[in-house]
Amino acid sequence: MSADLLSLATIIAMALATYLTRIGGLYLMQGVTVKGRLKAALDALPPAVLMAVIAPTVLSSGPAETIAAVITAGAAFLRLPMIVVVAIGVAAVIALRAVV
């Protein structure tokens, strides 16, 4: 397989794998009543997964990223608009990388 074809096949396979995860949810819980502990677990899944995605960057890249993440979280909790939060985070990481 040529490099271009392999790349194209990978992109299509990624798309199919992703759609499978999206469409699967329609049928996953059919007939299951989501309440109590199961609901608490389901409700916690999105923040837990989002946190897991960024944890290595935030915790083990270096002090600049960790401090910038804390500053970003502070801005997020002030309920500033999302684009402002992102801008503050990026500005913080630039400044901190220059000094740390």
Binding site: T18, A41, P46, A52, A68
Partner: protein
């Protein structure tokens, strides 16, 4: 009584998602430049964003991209990173009563962390109308695919995104989204369990298993803490 028109609902969806769209532009540009640096043509970058349409998975896939492309590893990793969609979809499908069958299939294709979060927020107050959902989701798709394409075209002329700190924009956006899920100290416990487990798993294991491990750790903590809350309610005698 007739509700708001479809056009009004659609426009409300677009308006609600505007701040996320503004944040998605630099992140889409960034992904496009990273993809171009790994040899993606502008068309391949656009195709990826248009069909995969999942930021976290796309960043991780481009990071793993090399010659020859490790197809199986990338596809398995993509699936693992996106397994959260199964549970998001399981939750969202409870609110798709006003959607036709093709509408549901399209709604799920367009489901992102952001459109899902906006839909779940909407159903706290009223029914989820298709036009509103598609206002949110279609504008996300248009912005993400356009920004990715622009990034891939501009690509090499923009240079290394890390030099400008744009590599951190992705983490910053997820932190901003995370804040919307905050419901008190129990959320803190969930996030701490997830962060520590994921960071340790990342050091110990190859691939993207750290995302699943962190996610499961957070879910387990949530389930455990929930039972304590139930016990407390039973003690007070106000259990159902």
């Amino acid at each position: 009584m007739p509700g708001p028109s479809r056009a009004t609902d659609f426009a409300r969806g677009v308006f609600d998602i505007l701040p996320v769209l503004a944040a998605a532009v630099p992140i889409g540009l960034l992904w496009g430049t990273l993809a171009a640096a790994k040899g993606f043509s502008p068309f391949a970058a656009w195709l990826t964003s248009a069909t995969v349409f999942a930021g976290a998975a796309q960043f991780i896939a481009v990071d793993m991209w090399r010659d020859p492309v490790p197809l199986l590893l990338i596809v398995v990793t993509t699936f693992i990173v996106n397994v959260r969609h199964l549970l998001m979809g399981a939750s969202l499908q409870r609110h798709l009563g006003e959607f036709s069958t093709p509408g549901r299939l399209l709604a799920m294709f367009l489901m992102t962390d952001e459109s899902w979060a906006f839909a779940e927020r909407k159903v706290l107050g009223e029914a989820l109308r298709p036009a509103y959902y598609f206002g949110v989701a279609v504008s996300m798709w248009l912005v993400w695919t356009s920004a990715s394409l622009a990034g891939a075209i501009a690509g090499r002329s923009l240079g290394d995104p890390a030099a400008y700190g744009f590599d951190f924009a992705f983490s910053a956006m997820f932190i901003a989204i995370l804040a919307g899920f905050w419901k008190g100290p129990r959320t803190g416990a969930v996030l701490a369990a997830s962060a520590v487990s994921a960071a340790l798993a990342k050091l110990a294991l190859a691939g993207a298993w750290y995302i699943v491990i962190g996610g499961l750790a957070g879910v387990i903590v949530a389930a455990v803490l929930h039972s304590e809350q139930e016990a407390a309610e039973a003690d007070r005698g106000d259990a159902p």
